[in-house]
Amino acid sequence: MSELDLVGERRAVISGAGQSDIGRRLHRDPLELTLDACLAAIDDAGLTTADIDGISTYPGGMETPPGFSGAGVVEVFDALRLNLNWWTGALELPSQLGAVIDACLAVSAGLATHVLCFRSVFEGSAQGDKGRAAVMPGGGGRGGGAPRTSGFMEWTLPFSAPSAAQWIAMMAMRHFHEYGTTREQLAQIALNARKNAAVNPKAIYTDPMSMDDYLEARMISSPLCLYDCDVPCDGGTAVIVSRVDTVPDLRKPPIQVEAVGTALHGRPSWDQFDDLTTMAVRDAGPQLWSRTELVPTDVQLAEMYDGFSFITMCWLEAMGFCGKGESGPFVEGGERIARDGVLPLNTHGGQLSSGRLHGFGFIHEACVQLWGEAGERQVPGDPEVGVACAGGGPMAGALLLTRRR
């Protein structure tokens, strides 16, 4: 038995994908958005709710921060009157897409046959006109007494560092220092996203953005400016993970899960991880490539987390699309990562311009592209191999996806 025979995720396919309406502030019931996405994905797979016997979601139901979770397992389970053989909803995972990877393992292990995987948010509506301050600990008029912090935030909040924007800014700054990366290079992640959003009917920001617009935008936490930060939104995304032997029952040829990466070989921490220029994505990428005979040059589209632009730079390096420290020169000018470039990147506009669907937007887009259903933004050349990567800081998960014939 070769090592690759043990790659259990190959017994999983993605059979359907769906999305709700997406908007900056929809003021709709978040459960409704969640269910819209779930039913769309089930229908896309050619299945019915009676076929669904598993649920996997990130982060599960939670009240705070406001808008972070549109629905947990139990709400969807009950709303659709499902009969489940396996389910999970968890926050401590190798990224948001860890929920999809868990589903792959569940079908591979024979615990479930068709797993509904979803992630929904309503951060746009929850933040209202107060912006992100509305959902920060101690901020946004929650008021009342002097709060105290503990756990992981104990080591950041007392220093007025409540946001991942700030923690990632410090990593970007270190990358700039060690490798000579520039703001003009980093800008390409945001400019590329905006170009792709212009041809995505569900995108949030579609007006053209120039390099000058980027460089003149207000600084958030140097070197990250406003356009390096994703846009909170409302919406839900779902995919169906099915066991490979169900392919004859499905509406269309599904997407094969070729390999996944979940590794973290270092301290699970934003500021204590040994290499301040890579984050956890450093380890998930090589693990993924160890589980397949495909190589980075086989990949025809990359949908990689851009909650903050610098995370995408880390993923470019971690997935072997360029060398360590070389993401700046790789994206310079933007040609390589354009839809007609060698590595079309975040073809839907990413979270930067199409909304912070929080990880699941990337796998949705990878599937839609591999199915050739992306309309005006479809990557040319009939792509067959793509990656979906999510997470940053101390969590990272990646899936290598191929189109089955």
């Binding site: 105290r148 220093f159 007025s160």
Partner: protein, 140 residues
């Protein structure tokens, strides 16, 4: 320090009091394994290197190196007036003894990664918390 800004303060426990209250005596303190000499941060209950539970508290020099930083302009929450500087500093005592902090008493244009810094405490006396911040230091 003349003006002490609002801060969200840590909940003090037996495990972390040495770190947050050492500033009362002007001292930066960390846990240190008595068996193998390894400094621990954030505080833990056993040494991650040798698994000894014989953990003591030790005062360090307060000298450190600036590993990275960010000038924060966004008003996220009540606290220091932006712009203020976030930093990760590496303490002189051990090659992985680091913490997130603020760089203070420093011209933003004069910040350089690798620069030497030293601890300075911001007292929150009524709350019995002393926040360890860092300021530029002379080169050794």
């Amino acid at each position: 320090m003349a003006d002490v800004p609002f801060r969200i303060l840590p909940r003090i426990t037996k495990r972390n009091e040495h770190f947050w209250q050492g500033g009362r005596d002007g001292e930066l303190r960390f846990q240190r394994c008595r068996a193998c000499g390894y400094y621990l941060h954030p505080p833990a209950v056993l040494c991650p290197k040798c698994h000894s539970k014989d953990i003591g508290i030790e005062t360090v020099s307060g000298r450190a190196e600036l590993l990275t930083y960010s000038v924060n302009y966004q008003a996220w929450m009540p606290g220091p007036e932006p712009p203020y500087v976030l930093a990760i500093v590496l303490c002189a005592e051990q090659d992985d003894l680091r913490l997130t902090t603020n760089l203070v008493n420093c011209d933003i244009d004069a910040i350089e990664i690798g620069m030497p810094v030293r601890v300075v405490f911001e007292p929150h006396i009524d709350e019995e918390v002393w926040i360890p911040l860092f300021e530029p230091a002379e080169r050794a």
